[in-house]
């Protein structure tokens, strides 16, 4: 039962990793990498490591996605500033 759960989560994670690497839209890739970290935190819980699960859920799917999105918005802001001149 648990093994079937892990296999299903694993297949979704590998699919999300392939999407993150191969998609042309940067926003899709960033959100896919957030999904990978979220599913990894569930797997950590099933491996009896609750501290690691809490840390990975907070950092991987919270702060890392936000940091990527802030960097992307900075780049778009630089684009817009140069076009305004």
């Amino acid at each position: 039962m648990i093994i079937a759960f892990i296999i299903v989560l694993g297949i979704i994670m590998i699919l999300a990793a392939v999407i993150a690497v191969m998609s042309k839209n940067l926003l899709t890739a960033i959100i896919a990498s957030g999904v990978i970290s979220l599913l990894a935190s569930i797997i950590y819980l099933m491996l009896s490591a609750p501290d690691v699960a809490m840390t990975e859920a907070a950092i991987g799917s919270g702060l890392t996605t936000i940091v990527f999105l802030y960097a992307l918005s900075r780049i778009k802001k630089i684009n817009r500033e140069v076009d305004d001149d």
Binding site: D51, T55, A58, I59, L63, I66, V67, Y70, R74, K77
Partner: protein, 230 residues
């Protein structure tokens, strides 16, 4: 073309090298001697109910000190590379947040901070600890940043909190050295009974300061990355 073949060859080589490791690995069914030693010492000498906390703060305390240093260097690097421009261009292109969003965010902000403080205060009893609590505090500040476009951090308070927490952490290590003979030994405060809040020596205090330091550093990174508002 050559590059693509080379990349596929390298990946194939890595798979071939690691395949025997994965086939022949025998997952153990009992703890090895070092781990059982840590588990026993953590319950008898340290009286910390969360064994991972005991390992992170006491047995591998120097690794935690190194990690706090690496976080500090990364924050300093990000702050140096993305210096804020102090000019405002005068036009605000974003429209202000709706009433529901700003009311909800200012209602949730103290609750999330309370939750973060709870997690790092009880780090030696339940899963959690300084790093998790610090990240949750940084997420609370992120909530304010996202819902309120005119929000500015008070940089003086952030700098003082970060520097003082780091200095007090090293001070606790030195206190352990002076009073007991080994660096970062948390037994110079009374040990108490297993499972109560005031137990395990100085571990709750050390973890609280680590939590404050991590929280303020991550808030600094978020603030540097956000940049000047337009």
């Amino acid at each position: 073309m050559i590059k693509r073949i080379l990349i596929i060859a390298i990946l194939f080589l890595i798979v071939v090298v690691f395949l025997p490791f994965m086939k022949n690995i025998v997952l153990k069914d009992s703890l090895n001697s070092l781990s059982s030693d840590y588990v026993e010492t953590s319950s008898k000498d340290l009286k910390a109910a969360n064994i991972v906390t005991g390992v992170v703060v006491t047995f591998r305390g120097l690794d935690t000190l190194g990690e706090v240093t690496v976080l500090f260097i990364a924050t300093a690097g990000v702050g140096f590379l993305l210096r804020r421009k102090h000019e405002k261009s005068g036009k605000i292109k974003k429209r202000p947040a709706s009433e529901i969003l700003s009311t909800g965010a200012s209602f949730l902000f103290p609750l999330v901070i309370l939750f973060g403080v709870y997690i790092f205060l009880h780090g030696h009893l339940t899963p959690g600890g300084g790093f998790q609590g610090g990240v949750i505090i940084a997420s609370a500040f992120l909530l304010l940043l996202l819902s309120n476009i005119h929000f500015q951090f008070n940089h003086t308070i952030l700098h003082w909190v970060e520097s003082l927490s780091g200095a007090i952490y090293v001070l606790f290590g030195l206190l352990g050295l002076i009073l007991l003979g080994s660096f970062l030994d948390p037994r110079f405060l009374p040990l108490g009974t297993l499972g109560k809040l005031l137990s395990a020596g100085a571990i709750p205090l050390i973890y609280s300061f680590i939590g404050l330091k991590v929280g303020s550093e991550l808030s600094n990174i978020l603030d540097s990355l956000r940049g000047a508002e337009e």
